[in-house]
Symmetry: C2
Subunit: 202 residues, 2 copies
DNA sequence: GTCTATAAAGAGATAGAC
DNA sequence: GTCTATCTCTTTATAGAC
């Protein structure tokens, strides 16, 4: 449907300020950190004045909160979908690893900010995000427990200990991954899945 | 030797301000982030006035720089020592993993700050620290390459790719490790060594 | 080595016009 | 939806006495 007068343009020349806001904030927050990113820098990166920023948000923290919620919502949706596509416990686990890495790296800026800048959120919003994170971790624990009960992976370590080891390996990737680098997210997901499941020893 | 008048006390009642400064800064920088930690908070945590802080340091960044250098110096010393104690490539690698985890977690605050707050350093100092980091990474690459050449671990991935996977798993631990938690650094080092080398599949 | 007092700059956020 | 102008508070760092 074509846009009618008085409404916002259906096909603006560039993306609207609102839609660019989140991505631009995510990039700055990831590279400089939330506290070290000023509203002046953010406005400049968007090509608008500081004051205009406050037409779209109430506070700087609003941006961080939205980034965290969006990122975790997407991670959970993808994990749910991946889980539904397999039944074998080990296949579920290895495909979870790949799709976690791919999704996190496709959304690198937002995902990195969600993981590392959570402490800058006001207490209530931080608590909300922590609940979402916990829900995701519980999902991983269940995948691991299922593989243990099927006798496919070691059961002398708790699901949460194995989950921490796994997410350690996957999450730190955000600190050095570059889209223009040597490997695609797909390749990294495959490598990490192989290492976590089978190790590097021949 | 006893202290003589005019010199600093040999056995002060508490630790001197200077010696407490680094550890206190490390703790604050790790928990709040460098940018979000104010000199007021730091002074308050030390029980001194803000101005007194500037008798010991020139700038807030001085503290960050010292933390990074001290942390990396210690990591490298321990790695060197561990390497000298073993000759078998696989033993060298597994013992490196354990001692990396133990040393990093014993020095948790400083190590975490070195890993996550480097971007807050002025360019020249950041470059210096990056060189030290690179030296440490090269050491890990050599350990991995030696094990590959001995035919003990997979050689279809480059040393740097395997090193990134390994340090991913080890480094993220700083975000959730608590000294009072379920596991000692020794136990975690052993678990991560087993997983990296042999995987979790039975 | 520590203090009180203060300078100077930078930060988040708002008022009100267009 | 965006602007210019500005308020108010916080920040790092220094001056100078004890």
């Amino acid at each position: 449907m074509a846009s009618s007068p008085g409404q916002q343009e259906a096909f603006p020349a560039g993306e609207s300020t609102k839609s660019r806001l989140t991505a631009t904030a995510a990039e700055l927050f990831r590279t400089k950190g939330f506290a070290a990113t000023t509203t002046r820098e953010l406005a400049a990166a968007l090509g608008i004045q500081k004051a205009t920023l406050y037409h779209h948000i109430r506070r700087k923290e609003d941006l961080l909160y939205k980034l965290c919620v969006d990122s975790l919502t997407r991670m959970d949706e993808v994990a749910e979908l991946t889980e539904s596509e397999y039944t074998d416990p080990l296949e579920r686990l290895s495909n979870f690893i790949s799709s976690h890495v791919i999704t996190a790296l496709e959304d690198r800026d937002q995902h990195a900010v969600m993981l590392t800048e959570l402490r800058a959120l006001p207490p209530d919003e931080r608590a909300e995000v922590l609940i979402m994170r916990r829900r995701y971790e519980d999902r991983v624990d269940r995948l691991i427990l299922a593989a243990q009960r099927a006798g496919r992976i070691r059961a002398d370590a708790s699901p949460s200990d194995l989950r921490l080891a796994l997410l350690n390996m996957l999450n730190w990737t955000i600190f050095w991954f570059r889209p223009e680098g040597n490997h695609t997210p797909e390749e990294l997901g495959k490598l990490y899945s192989e290492i976590f499941l089978n190790g590097v020893v021949i």
